[in-house]
Symmetry: D3
């Protein structure tokens, strides 16, 4: 909470100083409260979106003005409801909330907005939100990224699981949680691979596919997780976090350069 980039713990004048500096960037993490199988807490996506946002921001905070708002945890997860533990809002609620948060930051003087999303079910909505806000505020640089898609460029050197092992609560997310919040991870979670009827569907957090389909999560998984958490480790989590930091550092820097 005491990250130097934390919007929440600052006073209005401290925030205004950042907001009105040239090329200022407001980062808005977006997560969910959603079941993640038997071994991970329901706030996993929120914890991770928040952690990677701060990790990225702290790398550049000495170079240009940047703040990270609290994570929006009221995400869109209807497909997880049937397994318990999930809190979901409607899609248009999330669109409206993200839009008004960004517009608040813009009103205070921020020159750029970057949503850092940690939940697959929010990903398309975040893309849409970027478009809706960007249309109304053409003078501001409006961007969004679902953080785990950044791993596509480096994950093959880290992963041990085959394709499908890094899906919901699998080797990828479990490794990050073991690195950041080991006390919240339960042991002995088995591998569970998705049997998707579609050749063109997404396979993994880091490898999507062109076809979207809808199915309640209970049809996919007994535990509520998909992938292979048994291959996860805190060491992998640390390396993934470091590499994600590299990517976000580049992104935040380029956003700042555009927004100046």
């Amino acid at each position: 909470m005491l990250s130097p980039a934390a919007w929440a713990t600052k006073t209005r004048l401290e925030i205004s100083e950042v907001a009105t500096a040239d090329g200022s960037v407001a980062v808005i993490p977006v997560g969910s409260i959603e079941q993640h199988g038997h071994h991970l807490p329901v706030a996993t996506d929120t914890f991770l979106a928040d952690a990677v946002s701060h990790h990225g921001a702290e790398r550049v905070i000495d170079d240009f003005p940047i703040l990270v708002t609290p994570p929006v945890w009221t995400g869109y997860s209807p497909h997880h409801m049937s397994l318990g533990g999930t809190l979901t809002v409607e899609l248009t609620d999330l669109l409206d909330v993200l839009t008004h948060l960004a517009e608040s930051a813009i009103e205070h003087g921020f020159d750029a907005i970057c949503f850092v999303n940690g939940h697959g079910g929010n990903a398309s909505l975040v893309d849409n939100t970027v478009s809706v806000i960007g249309k109304e505020h053409s003078e501001v640089e409006v961007t969004g990224v679902t953080y785990f898609s950044l791993a596509a460029s480096f994950i093959d050197n880290i992963r041990e699981s085959e394709l499908g092992g890094m899906a919901h609560g699998g080797e990828f997310e479990t490794s990050l949680m073991l690195h950041l919040y080991p006390e919240l991870v339960k042991e002995d979670a088995p591998a569970e691979y998705l049997e998707d009827p579609y050749d063109h569907g997404g396979k993994d957090l880091v490898e999507g596919g062109p076809l979207s389909s809808y199915r309640p999560f209970e049809d996919f998984s007994d535990s509520g997780a998909i992938g292979d958490p048994s291959l996860a480790s805190a060491e992998k989590g640390e390396e993934i976090m470091s590499r994600l930091g590299d990517e976000l550092e580049t992104i935040f820097q380029q956003i700042h350069d555009e927004a100046k």
Copy 2:
């Protein structure tokens, strides 16, 4: 974060076990990110709504099933925008978000909902939300309270400030923050009393009035705070928290009794 009542850190099965027990209560703290003068962080209302919710829930968690969701920090604060630091959504967004969170909890089996609000600007909306949800879910006990209004019954024995000293960021909230997050409170905040043109307006966090009016906060206050933070102390904060705990314990117990 590791409160035994924290929804966020549990797995789906741990939450389901509470949800489906008889007379289960889901507490939803509601706050804001909003300027609180020069001496308090913008997340003050969120921190306090969250803290009192957990404080109350921990008193009864051994007696009946209860969980506290993460605090909803996306509150309604348009009147604070002009002073910087505030993030506000629209009123109807907040109504929708609170409604869908409650409905998620109800779908998982909770028998009662209690919103614990920490921001004056949300108070009427929380009342309305109780009505909207209650109408749709008559089988569930739906309730809401703005926590500082609970202090009316005991605060005269604690306060040193005159009427008006316990308004936005005054003796009351500053004392609670000094008790809970002293590292986030800046020193030497002066008293600043509201000059309200209306005899029938609200005077204080703990003493409202029948007349509502609207004015940007900058018209009320130079610093952004109203009241007397110079009279605040951690000791007062501890006592206030303890007495709020008494009140919430009664409320949660009575909600549970009704919901059984």
Copy 3:
């Protein structure tokens, strides 16, 4: 209908003359069509909000420009539906209607808006509406009051009933109706007191409480009324109306002073 402050019976030029005068005040009564037990008509809240608005406005109409629109009778009363006779809209409909009426008056030149509400179920929504309109029209004085809450300062000298006797259709409202519309009041309505499970709930029209809860009205009352109408009298009604007039005179005057 032929009140000198009645918007409805005037021509456009007559209204424009008031609207464009300095410090002009538009009063918008807000009521409901909602069951009031066996002895009062369903339009009670609408009749009373309208009557007290005109009573207050007529006291000041020679001093400054003021008009009273027709009463908005399309209120929010879902909790009364099960007992018959009630006509309710959705909460957001009422918000939108009140907002657009106020904005029409503002467009014509009124410098202040004052909603005078007569129905408990509308009270929080009227507060919210004040905030929504005020945010958009900072140049205008926007206010709202639920008229019976003004009685807290004087009612103890008038009432005979104990706490709880002046709730829905009780000693208070029945007295006002006997004063204003005796032909619409049926005799011999018995006392019926609320058994509320909550220590922190509201007790009476004139004494609220910090905790909101929702329950269909049929769970509270056999007749549909709560309180003691048997203690009502036209004389009490006349005195209450006179004292409410004092309070509203002060409020309208202070609104006008602010709006000039």
Copy 4:
């Protein structure tokens, strides 16, 4: 107000008795508060929709169960705003309000709904509302009529003005107001005929045309009225009201027959 068909002045049980009788009809008058030139009050459309509804209902109230709600005066009149005095809501607000009022009546047991509209600007919206409600409540007879269109069958025997003389505030409406509320009609209103650029536009209250167009009312008229009020008389008003009563009697009877 003391019409035997008035919903507002009855208690819940009196209304329920009508609602649950076989073939019960709820009539909802719909008007506006909108400028009507220099000689008529702004509530003209509301007064007239209400009066003709009661006039029609009283003819049949001994034959079958029927009640008339208070008139909805929050109509749709943006094109009249520029001339002052008008209070308008948004089109979708009116749709929602009418829908929820009708649904309230349906929930209480009414077998038929009939909107009786008195304002041209509401006419298409009332048609749409009939469709929206009817779709959701196929078991109920849902209908709507703009009352002055009923005059097409008989008006040629009464009118003295040429085509265009019975438009907004002209011979027709002024006659009805002279009959019902002579104290609210100012004298010496001159004739003012519309110069419409379109051959296919509407000509008169009682003779529409296929082409809709939009123009602020100030482009049409200096006074705010269109037509010839100088030809109006209370006698004509009485005859028009009587003939409208004939038409509404037939309509209400046929609605009741269908709804049984």
Copy 5:
């Protein structure tokens, strides 16, 4: 598709050239996909609205700037759903879509909008849309017409059927389809006349009535059509189209004259 007035097949510069010319008119056909009995395809209303729009536009395209957008086929037809084949949206969706299409055209420079509607269920909504757009864009000439209502002035010389024979899928629409798309019309469709319980209801496509009511189409018709298609012929269709062209030519010319 290769009509000289077709918006769809042009490039952005070709469209801009028309849009920015003086008095430019954008025609937006509005239809539906809705069952039309056993003999006509479900896109009948869309085909005909599109065809008459182009027929009218081609008559004037050498005289002033005019383009016809693709037909909006996502109409409002809930009352046809029960018979199969129909695709309907909500009323407010259609309002929003038409509004935003018109506003796009206005943003590009068009001076006038004319909706040409081909479906009875859309007619009131198109009128409303004209009002909503016109209110926001008073500088633009906004108009709408349901094309078959233009036939009232000439149809008696063409029709063979009695009143009621030119309703949904009857002599009128079938003749137009035989003229334009004979390969899509199935033979031997019998006459089926509406038995309407209301004296004041609409009788025919070309002769409406003052009373609106709602009933699923299956209650009106076995086949899904109403009227007498057996009297239809391609020759009548050709003549109707020619006469509709005369009317639309006048309308488009007058719109252009107003918009200059």
Copy 6:
């Protein structure tokens, strides 16, 4: 238009026969009317989404029940508005329209929905729509695909342009248009490559990137197109269409298999 899979040209009974057969698939093409540079018509995305949908459906129509609705051309294209020719709706309008079309098809008995989208700006919204419909209709197979993303698997064997040459109106879309509608393609369109400041942005129609950003199209391109139309040919278009047909055939078959 006379495709054997065309919903529009069939009667209600013909459609019902398909809808109620086992494993029936309703394909809904989604396009836009949006500027495509100097050489392509504004309806390009609509033409292509429609054409590939029919091409795919015709390959399987003898094997299982499938129909293609008319293409939804009212897409989301705010970023193209500044260049002229574009007609855009709001994002939530498109969500609502697609949802209600799908729900109409579901009501008639279709067991599966497949949106085939042809416009990048709609892609995320189509994903979201799949989720919204799927949540409400878990008994139906709901899917969506943006057709050009299917080309990723085969395009390297066809393309001559480097990365970036197959963006908006480039080698890919121009080839398809030359194959299908050569008369609508203007010659001599030059190559224009995007200079994107972001390493993580999308590069091409067929190669996206993890970062979303918003910028008016005029900032990207002088002509309004991006890519290299000069390398397009009808032969390439034919081959692309054939290979897209292979992919869609697989997708439709797998959807049918799941929906049975």
